[in-house]
C-alpha cells in the first residue's frame, strides 16, 4: 500500500502545482522545481526500499521521475511564464530603463548588453498567455543579475503567497 500512496501523493503534488500555474496569471513555473519534486519522489522510494521491494509496475513512475529530473536539470534556466508576450516584454524594457541597462529586441528574445557583453533573455510565445523564457546566467554582481532577481519577484511561483496587510490593525 505504501508505494501506491507515495507515488500518488507526488503525482497529486505535481498535478496541483501545474494546475495552479494554469489557473493564475503573471506567475512562472520553473521547470527545475518539477525536477526537485521528481528527485524527492525517487529519494523517498529509495529510502523505503528496505521495507518495500520494487514492484514491476513501479518502473513506470520511476523511469518517468528519472527522465523529468534529468530533463529539468538540463533546462534549469527555463521558465514557463503565464503572461502576454507584449506585456512581458514591455515590463522588462521598463525595468531595463530603471536599471540603466541596454536592452533591445532581437529574434528569439531580448538582448541585454552590459559592459560590452551581450546576454540573451530568450522568449518564445507558446500560446496567448504562455511563454517559454530562457533566463541568462549573468555574473553575480551585475545589472542583468538584478533584472533576473526582479523578474523572479514579479513572476513568482504558482503557489499563492500568504498576504499580510500591515496597514490594517490586527
Amino acid at each position: 500500500m505504501f508505494p501506491q500512496l507515495l507515488w500518488a501523493s507526488f503525482a497529486i503534488a505535481a498535478a496541483a502545482y501545474l494546475l495552479l500555474f494554469l489557473m493564475r496569471v503573471n506567475v512562472s513555473l520553473r521547470l527545475v522545481r518539477l525536477g526537485w519534486l521528481a528527485e524527492a519522489a525517487l529519494v523517498s522510494r529509495g529510502l523505503a526500499l528496505t521495507l518495500w521491494s520494487l514492484a514491476s509496475w513501479e518502473w513506470t513512475p520511476l523511469v518517468a521521475c528519472v527522465v523529468v529530473a534529468a530533463a529539468t536539470f538540463y533546462w534549469h534556466r527555463t521558465w514557463l511564464v503565464r503572461a502576454r508576450a507584449d506585456e512581458f516584454c514591455e515590463r522588462i524594457s521598463e525595468a531595463c530603463r530603471g536599471l540603466r541597462l541596454e536592452c533591445r529586441y532581437q529574434p528569439g528574445g531580448l538582448a541585454l548588453v552590459e559592459r560590452q557583453q551581450m546576454l540573451l533573455l530568450g522568449i518564445t510565445r507558446l500560446h496567448t498567455r504562455l511563454l517559454l523564457v530562457r533566463v541568462p546566467s549573468p555574473p553575480p554582481r551585475s545589472k542583468v543579475a538584478l533584472l533576473v532577481q526582479w523578474l523572479a519577484k514579479q513572476y513568482s511561483g504558482p503557489v499563492p503567497p500568504i498576504p499580510i496587510d500591515l496597514s490594517r490593525p490586527s
Binding site: A95, G98, L99, R100, R141, S142, K143, L146, Q149, W150, K153, Q154, S156, P161, I162, P163, I164, D165, L166, S167, R168, P169, S170
Partner: protein
Amino acid sequence: MATTFETSGHIDNTPEAVIAYVADPRNRPLFFPALKAITDIQGEPTAVGTSWKWTFVALGMEFRGRGRCLSHEPGRLYSFQTDGGIQSTFTYRAQAESGGTKLTVSLEYEVPENAKAKLPAGDRGQKLREEEARRALENLQLILQR
C-alpha cells in the same frame, strides 16, 4: 522602542542623480531585494506628501502597507515613511565625495506589539532588515555607476 540602523557607501555619480533615482518610488523594487512592487502612487512620484502601496515578499509571505514621502531636497536628502502596522522611516543623505557621492541610508523602525506575531522579530528580524538595507545600497552602487 524604535530601532535605528545606518549604512553608507560611495556611489560613482552626482548627488543630484543619486537622490533623483532613490526619490522615485517606481525604481525601488529594482534595488530593494525583498520589495516586490510599488503601486497606487498618489501624486507626483518624487514630491513630498505623495503616497503609495508597497508589497514586500519574505519567507513565502507578502506584506503590504502604505508609504509616504516626508522630505525631498534635490541633490541632498530624501526620506519616506511606511505607515500602518510597522512604522519605519528611511532617510537617504547624499554628499559630494571624490567626484562621486557618499550616500548614507538611515533606517528607523518600530514593530508594534500587534504586528510582532506577523513579522520576523528580535535579532533575526533586525539582521534581516539591516542586510536588506546593505544590499539595497550595493545595488544602487551598481545601477548608478557611470
